[in-house]
Subunit: 324 residues, 2 copies
């Protein structure tokens, strides 16, 4: 698989990022370190650090500088996961107990705040104010995205546009700025930075749609938590919105969603999942994800021909593939 080759090729630099991730949370306070490390060790694809490094290849590639962007972005992602798990009342993530489940909600809330603070403290070592501005604005947008998700729980009347706006804030923006900040930290010109941003944005959109598909089409083993988790908490994702627009499935699906809502989280989602699977929702969502991948690849076209360009294309294609 091409993505594994990419990891292998970047192994040295990724190892250093990994070490700095660990070092960043491994001091000060035992319980906070322990809960943060627990999350760190649970792994993850480190998509954001990889993208930062690859974006940096379009300019002056200095690992020490780039890691001051890559590490904070991964930490911010991790902090948002810890807070999400509190909100979602999730017991497992990536097949491991969540912080809120292994400890409790209070520990999880402060662990998130702590990881977040560590992220800021690392990025604040970079003198470029533009980096701080872009990052801070993205953080605000991410919160708004999370709040929209809560507000839209069990809202069966939401439009596709509504969903897309939400995942743009919730997911795509952080991946987009991973590209842009990596580029800025490497001193690339504005046009290149903006193309990389556009690449990241479209990859991020595809990534979230695919993640939402996986929650409905994957197995527990694949996704590290029981399928249908989104539905169970009321998060109406693209395949569900599309299935609701399908006359053949709308009635039954509305009925099932109402039942799930009534039983607030303890309900069986198997029937609802089956209805979505039998609708056109999955295919349509899949097609939309592919379109975002195409847009991401298109943004790469005008970039200078460095080896990283091919790697970014590989990442986009990998994320565009159905792997369920």
């Amino acid at each position: 698989m091409k993505l594994l080759d990419l990891y292998a090729k970047m192994k040295g630099d990724l190892n250093q990022i990994e070490k700095e991730l660990e070092r960043s949370v491994a001091d000060d306070h035992m319980l906070l370190s322990e809960s943060s490390l627990h999350l760190l060790k649970a792994g993850g694809k480190r998509i954001r650090p990889i993208i930062v490094l690859l974006a940096g290849k379009f300019g002056e590639y200095k690992l020490d500088t780039l890691s001051k962007v890559a590490v904070p972005l991964e930490l911010i992602h991790m902090a948002s996961l810890v807070h999400d798990d509190v909100i979602d009342d999730a017991d497992t993530r990536r097949g491991q107990l969540t912080v809120k489940s292994k400890w409790d909600n209070r520990i999880a809330m402060y662990t998130g705040d702590y990881i977040h603070g560590k992220a800021l403290s690392i990025v604040s070592q970079l003198p470029n104010p533009q980096i701080h501005q872009i990052l801070a604005n993205a953080l605000v947008q991410m919160c708004i995205g999370e709040m929209e998700q809560i507000r839209d729980f069990f809202n069966t009347d939401q439009s596709i546009r509504h969903y897309l706006r939400r995942i743009r804030r919730k997911t795509a923006l952080l991946i987009a700025i991973s590209c842009k900040l990596g580029a800025i930290a490497a001193g690339v010109d504005r046009k290149t930075a903006n193309l990389l941003y556009r690449y990241g944005y479209n990859v991020g959109m595809a990534f979230q749609i695919r993640d939402d598909l996986l929650d409905l089409y994957g197995t527990e083993k694949q996704i590290g938590k029981p399928p249908g988790s989104d539905m169970r908490q009321g998060n109406i994702t693209l395949p569900v919105i599309l299935a609701l627009q399908d006359e053949n499935s709308r009635g039954n699906l509305l009925h099932e969603l109402a039942l799930i809502r009534e039983q607030s989280g303890r309900s069986d989602t198997r029937k609802a999942i089956r209805i979505v699977r039998e609708s056109a929702g999955g295919d349509l969502a899949e097609r939309l994800a592919s379109r975002y991948i195409e847009k991401a690849l298109h943004a790469l076209k005008d970039l200078p021909d460095v080896a990283a360009k091919k790697s970014l294309a590989d990442i986009a294609r990998f994320l565009g593939k159905r792997n369920y």
Copy 2:
């Protein structure tokens, strides 16, 4: 009262800070704005912004620049209050419903994250990296302080030193950096900035000790929430630690604290409060607070003689007074 004179004298500038506080959270997303504004409108003494402005008087006083420090610091304080109310399961603050009580814990968590993001997005407009570094490090320390508080719940064996280290992180640090960042934003020399930091640190320590005293000696009307809240959630504060060191009260107090712990939050703290009040704890804590005020006043001594110096002394003396 001298402090009211101070507010009157700074009215114009404080009004602008107030407007910018409102503007900072009054857009983007309705629910987030509403929950943030709810908190903002509940008031507060705005100690941090006032201190930022006064520290700025020792250098080149530019309100526009200083407000980019003052507003974020007040927002960060507010964000920490919202998260604390989740942790403390508090229903009222300053006599008003808390965000977590008016809405719910999830809204409160993201409201805190959102206000925090807004704070960063304002301060990121300042080009001085030192400001970002000092702020980010303080944020990490604040989280650690909050975590220590959780870890130490119902720990009846903690030392005074232990308590002081916790409140330094939890409270004093943010007030100390309010001084220092105001000074740095106004371009004062390092020696003056450090003296102002020392002033703020000592004022902050006195402030928290006094706050902890108020929770045991104040009336519900004075403190905007039922007295004994700290004890009820297991937060063992200085007067309690001191009462536990008093042979005459130790046994009875340990017994009461064990009862409170067993009944997890629903218990009557009146007897425990009475035991603390009858012990030497209150007087000793009061004396320690006064000593911090003296240290704060001492730090002011070597500062240049500008009018703000007297105002800072007034603030310190005001905070040092028993007002219960």
